[in-house]
């Protein structure tokens, strides 16, 4: 599994964490504003990600022990 932070899963988790820590009250105003800006930016990036459209379906096959990606022709 990809462990990238900038995929939808990672960004959504980060956003949830930010909302969580902003909702806890023991936080300074300066830090809060920084978190807020980051959160709003993440929300926008997540929405952008969702608006992408993946039209092609790929096919994974093993060729000589290596993974090959082909285009899948739907029957």
């Amino acid at each position: 599994m990809p462990k990238k932070e900038n995929n939808l899963e990672g960004m959504m988790k980060k956003l949830e964490n930010i909302v969580g820590s902003l909702e806890r009250e023991d936080i300074g105003l300066e830090k809060a504003i920084k978190l807020y800006d980051e959160g709003i930016k993440l929300a926008k990036e997540c929405t952008n990600e969702l608006n992408k459209v993946e039209t092609k379906i790929k096919e994974l096959v093993s060729e000589k022990g290596k993974v090959k990606i082909k285009n899948f022709e739907e029957a």
Binding site: M1, P2, N7, L8, E9, M12, L15, E16, I18, V19, L22, E23, E25, I27, L29, A32, I33, Y36, G39, I40, A43, C46, T47, E49, L50, N51, K52, V53, E54, I57, K58, E59, L60, V61, S62, V67, I69, F72, E74, A75
Partner: protein, 376 residues
């Protein structure tokens, strides 16, 4: 008695054996009965036992190659249907039933094998919830292990496309029934783990008989799903068909379409979720600013109070001083009838008589008014 009609024991036995073996019915017959006196001969690999019913019994033997193809183990008291031929064991002069194949009576061999493997794997803990990997909430790359021409793959694709147009779909073609299916499924699972990029995999196949779904009950397949790093959702057969793949998978879907629904959330739900979080961000910042303002105004009023109380205490002190000063004011003494005598020439306050000479002018200050006087 004609000498030519006398047979040796061997000749007689051979003749009897030929009779049995050329008989059309006894050559290939199904016999139903209960297993007893079961003996395994590990060295030779064959199994000996007796099949019996209420009245009769017959000695049976299963030879090595037939034993190996059996999908279950015989047990004492088990009711079975066996196919084989009746023959003669010459050395003992006994007839026996040589079995080619045997299946449990009532419950099919596969069903029995299924139950046995399930029990063994269950005891091993392979189906435990503690081994279930979490399914990602927002997968972007989804692998579908299925027959590329089947209806199942089409159903899954349709649902994912509708709900999550952003998600990448990777089809891994596998054989879903027959001799090569087991190997093909295991290879498919290994392939996605090698590829490393997919977030989750769906293993799917349409409905079928227990025989047709059998590859999904193979131990190798179960173990491949168990050791997969990529979480696996299984959707094999219809809702009522539960395979061991379903039990070991991280999540089971009743149908291929349901697998599509389980793997991705509706876009609107995620968008709502994001909007909701945005709202919460704004709210909590607003609240924080408000509470900081409150804090500030509380501090201000506290400061004011402190200042006021300081001022108050100062003014009380000032009053006291005033009073003291008043008491010390010489005028206050004059009020009581005393007067101050000054030598006019140098304004010396006269305290002793010798400070005054004849002809000196004096100024006498009374409580009210002043008097000038000359000393005689």
């Amino acid at each position: 008695m004609d000498e030519r009609n006398i047979l040796s024991v061997t000749e007689a036995t051979q003749y009897i054996k030929t009779m049995f073996e050329t008989d059309i019915i006894l050559n290939n017959v199904f016999i139903r009965g209960e297993v007893s006196n079961l003996k395994y001969y590990h060295m030779g690999g064959q199994v000996y036992f007796t099949l019996k019913d209420e009245n009769c019994q017959i000695s049976c033997v299963i030879f090595n190659n037939s034993v190996n193809s059996m999908k279950f183990n015989l047990e004492e008291g088990m009711k079975v249907i066996a196919r084989g031929k009746v023959s003669v064991y010459e050395r003992r002069g006994q007839y026996n039933f040589r079995i080619f194949e045997v299946q449990p009576d009532g419950i099919g061999a596969l069903a029995l094998a299924f139950e046995k493997l399930k029990k063994r794997l269950y005891e091993e803990g392979i189906f435990d919830d503690k081994y279930k990997k979490p399914i990602p909430l927002y997968p972007e790359k989804i692998a579908i292990l299925a027959s590329p021409s089947g209806a199942a793959v089409h159903d899954v694709i349709k649902v994912i496309r509708r709900r999550a147009p952003w998600a990448g779909i990777y089809i891994v073609p596998i054989v879903v029934q027959g001799e090569t299916a087991k190997e093909s499924i295991v290879e498919g699972i290994n392939l996605i783990n090698k590829f490393k990029e997919v977030d989750v995999a769906i293993l799917t196949r349409g409905g079928g008989s227990l025989e047709e779904l059998w590859s999904f009950n193979e131990e190798d397949v179960v173990r491949a799903i168990f050791s997969s790093i990529v979480p696996v959702i299984s959707a094999v057969g219809h809702e009522i068909d539960i395979t061991l793949s379903d039990l070991v998978a991280d999540l089971r879907a009743a149908t291929p379409s349901q697998a599509g629904e389980l793997v991705v959330q509706e876009k609107t739900i995620i968008v709502n979720n994001i909007e909701n979080m945005e709202k919460r961000l704004k709210e909590s910042l607003k609240e924080l600013v408000y509470s900081k303002k409150e804090e500030l105004s509380e501090l201000c009023s506290g400061l004011k109070q402190l200042l006021e109380s300081k001022l108050n205490s100062v003014s009380v002190k000032v009053g006291l001083f005033k009073e003291k000063l008043n008491l010390l004011n010489p005028k206050t003494i004059l009020k009581r009838g005393y007067s101050i005598v000054e030598r006019s020439a140098d304004r010396l306050i006269v305290k002793e008589a010798k400070q005054v000479n004849s002809k000196d002018r004096l100024k006498i200050t009374l409580y009210k008014g002043k008097i000038q006087a000359d000393v005689v």
